[in-house]
């Protein structure tokens, strides 16, 4: 029993970090209607940004996380302005495809640039706090605990921001209807830029928090990106709350899946497949995701 409690807690912690990454992806999707296929590399850049801030600028680890988020916010803003911008004009005929291609191109670009710039060898920033919390049979390392708590704080801050600040409400308005938002004086284009920047910052935060837990490598974002896709589909593509629930759900399902899978030899080999299958079935049953707003689709 302890064993499954441990699996569930581990899943919960990992799920919260997934949720942080997915929340950024969701924010971008809900406002821009774009799936950011480059999200995994933004996560990777966040991890490295924090690493370099800690090791070369000598800032304490929590400040490294914040600096990484600020840096990637700026990066997101610039990318959105330079590359995604034409999407909102009539110059781009097929917006979905345009977005997939340019964000995917970003992945190819940054992953390989990462190898050139950061080098091929793994790096790891110092831990936030060494050691582990041991409560009876439960063991959880401080790094994971801190990452989970930081994820909760960031996710709460995001929810508060979206619900209580005027900028957040403007983002929400644009996500619901660009036209109506424009009518009440919100400039949707500005909101697109803000949303992409914030989404990038959240990915960076996730990367920076995970860096001391797992190591840094240029391709570290590949798997979490796929996980984040799964989560936002589970969470209904565009609902921040849904992506939090989806993240935790995925973390726990994967953890318990490995624990329960009958053939231990294959259990780990198929861990990723559990999530992918979850995505496939969710989309088949509900083409707009598990917790998606019911759409009065006309076709």
């Amino acid at each position: 029993m302890d064993y499954f409690a441990l699996l569930a807690i581990n899943g919960l912690v990992i799920g919260l970090i997934y949720a942080l990454m997915a929340a950024g992806l969701t924010l971008i999707f809900s406002v821009l209607k774009v799936v950011n296929f480059g999200h995994g590399t933004l996560y990777m850049l966040g991890g490295y940004a924090s690493y370099y801030a800690i090791t070369y600028l000598g800032v304490p680890p929590p400040a490294g996380v914040v600096l990484a988020m600020v840096a990637l916010f700026a990066f997101g803003v610039v990318f959105e302005r330079l590359v995604l911008h034409p999407m909102y004009t009539n110059k781009v005929e097929r917006k979905d495809e345009y977005a997939i291609i340019v964000t995917f191109g970003l992945t190819v670009l940054l992953l390989n640039l990462g190898i050139v710039v950061f080098g091929p060898f793994s790096k790891s920033p110092p831990p936030f706090l060494a050691g582990a919390l041991i409560a009876g049979p439960l063991i959880i390392t401080y790094d994971r605990l801190i990452a989970a708590i930081a994820a909760i704080v960031l996710l709460s801050a995001l929810s508060w921001f979206l619900a209580r600040t005027s900028l957040g409400q403007a983002l929400d308005a644009v996500s619901q209807s660009r036209e109506s938002a424009a009518v009440i004086g919100i400039n949707p284009r500005r909101m697109y830029t803000v949303a992409f920047g914030l989404g990038s910052a959240l990915a960076a935060g996730a990367g920076a928090l995970i860096a001391p837990i797992f190591a840094l490598s240029p391709n570290m974002g590949e798997l979490p990106a796929v996980q984040a896709f799964i989560i936002i589909v589970l969470g209904g593509m565009g609902s921040v709350g849904g992506s939090i629930v989806g993240g935790i759900l995925l973390g726990v399902v994967e953890g318990l899946g490995v624990g329960f899978f009958p053939d231990p030899n294959r259990a780990l080999a198929y861990t990723e497949a559990f999530g992918a299958l979850l995505l496939v079935f969710t989309l088949l049953v509900r083409p707009t995701g598990l917790f998606g707003r019911p759409h009065a689709r006309l076709e």
Partner: protein
């Protein structure tokens, strides 16, 4: 087959989540009728058109065309069965030419030949006075021209029932007269037509029979002059307006 039973929708209902969009609506048309369907925003007009065109499957109720039950068939079966439609905002094949837009519906009939389809497209274009645009891209057309082209595309199906969803919305007054004239002549030529619109004046001068919907239900159905004087209709409209 009874003439009055040319087209019959019986007890149509449609829910979206918890919202009831259409609630037990029945309409029947006889051949060659021209009917207006009006109602305040959100009264379920477009949902009705979508069900009659086969784009939405009703939760309850049946749709019969010339005695054949169509309910549950996919939209393209409705289209080939003679139900043609236009959309509120024109939905053209934007990156295809005007000519190509028109021959798509014609060629959806497997027996049709391309040369024949192009000849008919030419006829439709001259009827709509769009011949000069034959080779233009659809997306290059003005808003009014797009409305006309969409009408033409519907005509290419040789429809026995034509569903026009807000043909007058956002149209220049001069073009409005032209569209009304086209609808009139199509009806005179034997087409059965349902026109959905907000423009009560246009509807009043165009159609003899009007159906009024409010909150998903039919609240009036009869000669236009009577219906538009009906206090229930006026209340539904003004009430809705006030609430706006």
């Amino acid at each position: 087959m009874d003439e009055a039973e040319f087209f019959a929708a019986d007890g149509l209902s449609k829910h979206f989540g918890g919202i009831i969009a259409v609630d037990g609506l029945s309409i029947s048309l006889s051949r060659g009728e021209l009917v207006g369907l009006i109602g305040p925003n959100g009264s379920g007009k477009t949902t009705t058109i979508n069900m009659v065109a086969g784009a939405l499957r009703p939760d309850e109720g049946t749709i019969r065309l010339r005695g054949v039950t169509m309910t549950g068939s996919p939209a393209h079966v409705f289209a080939r069965g003679g139900v043609a439609r236009t959309f509120q905002v024109p939905r053209l094949f934007r990156r295809m030419t005007v000519l190509e837009n028109l021959i798509v519906p014609a060629l959806s009939n497997p027996a049709a030949r391309r040369a024949e389809a192009e000849r008919r497209a030419g006829e439709v274009l001259s009827f709509l006075r769009l011949e000069h645009l034959t080779r233009s891209l659809a997306r290059a057309l003005s808003g009014g021209q797009q409305k006309l082209l969409e009408l033409g595309r519907a005509l290419m199906l040789r429809p026995s029932l034509l569903l026009l969803d807000e043909p007058f919305a956002g149209v220049h007054p001069q073009l409005l007269a032209q569209i009304m004239e086209h609808i009139g002549s199509l009806n005179a030529g034997g087409h059965t037509i349902i026109v959905v619109d907000h423009n009560i004046d246009a509807i009043r001068s165009l159609v003899r029979r009007t159906v009024v919907m409010a909150q998903g239900r039919k609240i009036a159905d009869g000669p236009s002059e009577d219906v538009l004087r009906d206090p229930a209709v006026i209340r539904a409209y003004t009430g809705a307006r006030d609430a706006h």
